[in-house]
């Protein structure tokens, strides 16, 4: 009986949101523009046009590389990658081959055990740290877009020449959930850096996993943690399948799991899956063989003669490194620790850097006001986060406005105790069954009564005072109950 372990490596493309394209001054923002309306001789591939690199795109690639723990090559260059396809105007793509900008990085994640969903509270992180190695990060230009209409294929070159960062991981993944988690973390990191919207549906982040499955002959042996083993310790399978056209997060898991299943079935039959590129059909939720474009591509890479090489200056690299913000993982840990937040809440908040900053600013302003006031409200961080996450308060409020709202909601309310006493007495008398339930041990029954009281009081009562008064009145109203001392 054999065990089958998936071996998955990822190729991820991220569209940079520079103002202009990679090698010309056309606007890089191409989403929903009229077809073929933002082209120039360079990105249209007209004869005689020449590429001139966008400095910002280079800078952001270095930034991403450093953020992912990569080494930055002192000397780097562009190369031509040749193949014919209607969306590739020059018949070659300007990319990077043997001297990419960044190599050999890694991304470590807290992966929650699958038994625990993120929503469940766990301030003790029942997590496993997994590290996924980054093989390289390089810079290239995007192609035009193809649209299929009956027996014609239409071409729009608006997207041609947009800067694209390619991130290639080592084949360190062995399940679809980890891939999804990695991708989500990468998306948040890229957004934190402000270099891309990384939106899968819009195509500004694209995934092409390379999937193989290998056999472990002895099922009793411990399944190795692939990422902890140096690559020489095992042999990669002799084939791999590239899957394209996964354009949403929810399809990532479906596509990968389908493909793993498909390959495993073949292997169990004693067959080796064909090395090929497959597309993902999201309607049928299957991968299918794409008409294989000949044998292995011969891209005939050679150094791009129109663009002089890049030699990165140490000072510039240091400057770029300084731009790396506190990353989502670190921020998450700090929020849990410093603000005593629930892991799940801190997780949600830190998916968005702006929102995280907002929270911190509200929190610190509130802290100041709170310490000056008579009230000294406790546990306000959690309350603030509840208000932000549950969207009870609009995020369009300024920090000041938000803080005032919070104070309004958290401050103990002025209570007319005489009116309250009368109200409570009335409620107790008209809800004898509920009172009896409470007295016989149903603790939650009191909340019903609280609700009734609050309604009568039209909300103008402090909840704590209401509860305490309710409890004491119930206590004193029935001497016979033997349990009331427990409160």
């Amino acid at each position: 009986m054999n065990n089958y372990i998936p071996v998955i490596g990822l190729e991820i493309h991220v569209e940079l949101k520079t103002k202009s394209k990679m090698f010309c001054g056309c606007p890089a923002d191409h989403f929903a523009k009229k077809p073929n309306s933002i082209c120039c001789p360079v990105c249209l591939g007209l004869p005689g046009a020449l590429p001139v690199p966008n400095k910002k795109a280079i800078e952001w690639t270095i930034l991403l590389g450093k953020t992912l723990g990569c080494a930055i090559n002192k000397v780097s260059k562009f190369d031509r990658k040749h193949y014919f396809y209607p969306d590739l105007p020059k018949g070659y793509q300007i990319s990077q081959y043997d001297e990419p900008i960044a190599t050999k990085g890694k991304l470590s994640l807290q992966i929650q055990s699958s038994k625990f969903k993120v929503q469940n509270d766990s301030s003790k992180l029942k997590n496993e740290e997994k590290t996924f190695r980054i093989h390289r990060v390089h810079l290239e230009e995007d192609t035009g877009k193809l649209i299929h209409k009956g027996n014609e294929t239409l071409i729009d070159f608006n997207r041609s020449g947009v800067p694209l960062v390619e991130i290639v991981t080592e084949p360190d993944f062995d399940n679809a959930d980890d891939v999804k988690r990695f991708l989500e973390e990468l998306q948040v990191i890229v957004r934190y850096l402000g270099i891309s919207d990384a939106d899968m549906e819009k195509g500004s982040m694209r995934l092409e996993p390379n999937i193989s499955v290998r056999e472990i002959p002895n099922p009793k042996s411990q399944i190795p943690n692939i990422s902890k083993l140096p690559i020489t310790n095992y042999q990669l399978p002799k084939y791999k399948v590239e899957v394209k056209n996964i354009n949403s997060f929810r399809f990532v898991k479906q596509a990968i799991e389908y493909e793993i299943e498909r390959q495993t079935t073949l292997l169990e039959k004693g067959e080796t899956p064909k090395q090929e590129t497959r597309g993902f059909n999201s309607n049928k939720q299957i991968t299918y063989s794409q008409r294989s474009k000949e044998e292995a591509h011969d891209y005939r890479y050679f150094p791009e003669p129109d663009i002089p090489p890049m030699i990165f200056n140490d000072d510039w690299l240091k400057q770029i490194e300084k731009q790396i913000p506190e990353l989502p993982q670190a921020k998450l840990e700090r929020f849990v620790k410093d603000y005593s937040l629930k892991f799940s809440d801190a997780f949600i908040l830190t998916r968005d850097k702006k929102l995280s900053n907002y929270f911190e600013q509200v929190n610190s302003k509130f802290k100041i006001q709170n310490s000056k006031s008579k009230l000294k409200i406790k546990n306000y961080s959690q309350s603030i986060i509840n208000l932000i996450i549950n969207n009870k308060l609009s995020k369009t409020l300024t920090i000041g406005e938000f803080v005032n709202k919070v104070i309004e909601l958290l401050a103990p309310k002025e209570t007319d105790e005489k009116l309250l006493g009368a109200t409570i007495t009335r409620i107790i008398e008209t809800n004898k069954k509920v009172v009896d339930d409470y007295k016989s041990g149903k603790q939650n029954a009191i909340m019903f009564l609280v609700g009734q009281v609050m309604r009568e009081m039209k909300g103008k009562a402090d909840a704590k005072i209401v509860i305490n008064m309710l409890k004491s009145k119930i206590q004193s109203s029935n001497v016979r109950s033997s349990r009331f001392n427990r409160d």
Binding site: T18, K19, S20, C24, G25, C26, P27, K34, P35, N36, S37, I38, C39, C40, P41, V42, L44, V52, P53, N54, K55, K56, A57, I58, K77, H82, F84, P86, L146, I147, H148, K149, G150, N151, E152, T153, L154, I155, D156, F157, R291, E294, D298, R300, P303, P305, I307, P308, P309, M310, I311
Partner: protein, 103 residues
């Protein structure tokens, strides 16, 4: 130059493979012609084996320029109108270029 005995270095298979990579449809005549001509030329290239290039760097840029790039700015002067973009094409469909379906 005296005619040497002609070595056929490139096989017919290779010529056909090159034509495919270069997206050129060759006639039978051309296949044979190129096989002969390219073989002679490639044979001549073997002269370079006489040159010691140990520790010699390949030319990467004859001007020795490095780090040529521009700031991230939009250049609206060069943007072509839709008409200019499509003008020289024989195969278009409204605002798009078109080819026979590739799927």
């Amino acid at each position: 130059m005296k005619k040497k005995s002609k070595k056929i270095i490139l096989s017919r298979q290779e010529i056909l493979h090159l034509a495919k990579l270069a997206k050129l449809r060759l006639t039978e005549n051309e296949v044979q012609k190129f096989q002969k001509q390219l073989s002679a030329i490639v044979d001549y290239f073997s002269k370079l084996n006489e040159v010691n290039t140990d520790n010699v760097e390949p030319v990467s840029q004859i001007t020795e320029l490095v780090n040529e790039n521009v700031d991230d700015e939009i250049n609206s002067i060069r943007i072509l109108s839709l008409e200019e973009t499509l003008k020289n094409s024989k195969s278009k469909n409204n605002d798009f270029f078109k080819v026979k379906s590739i799927f």
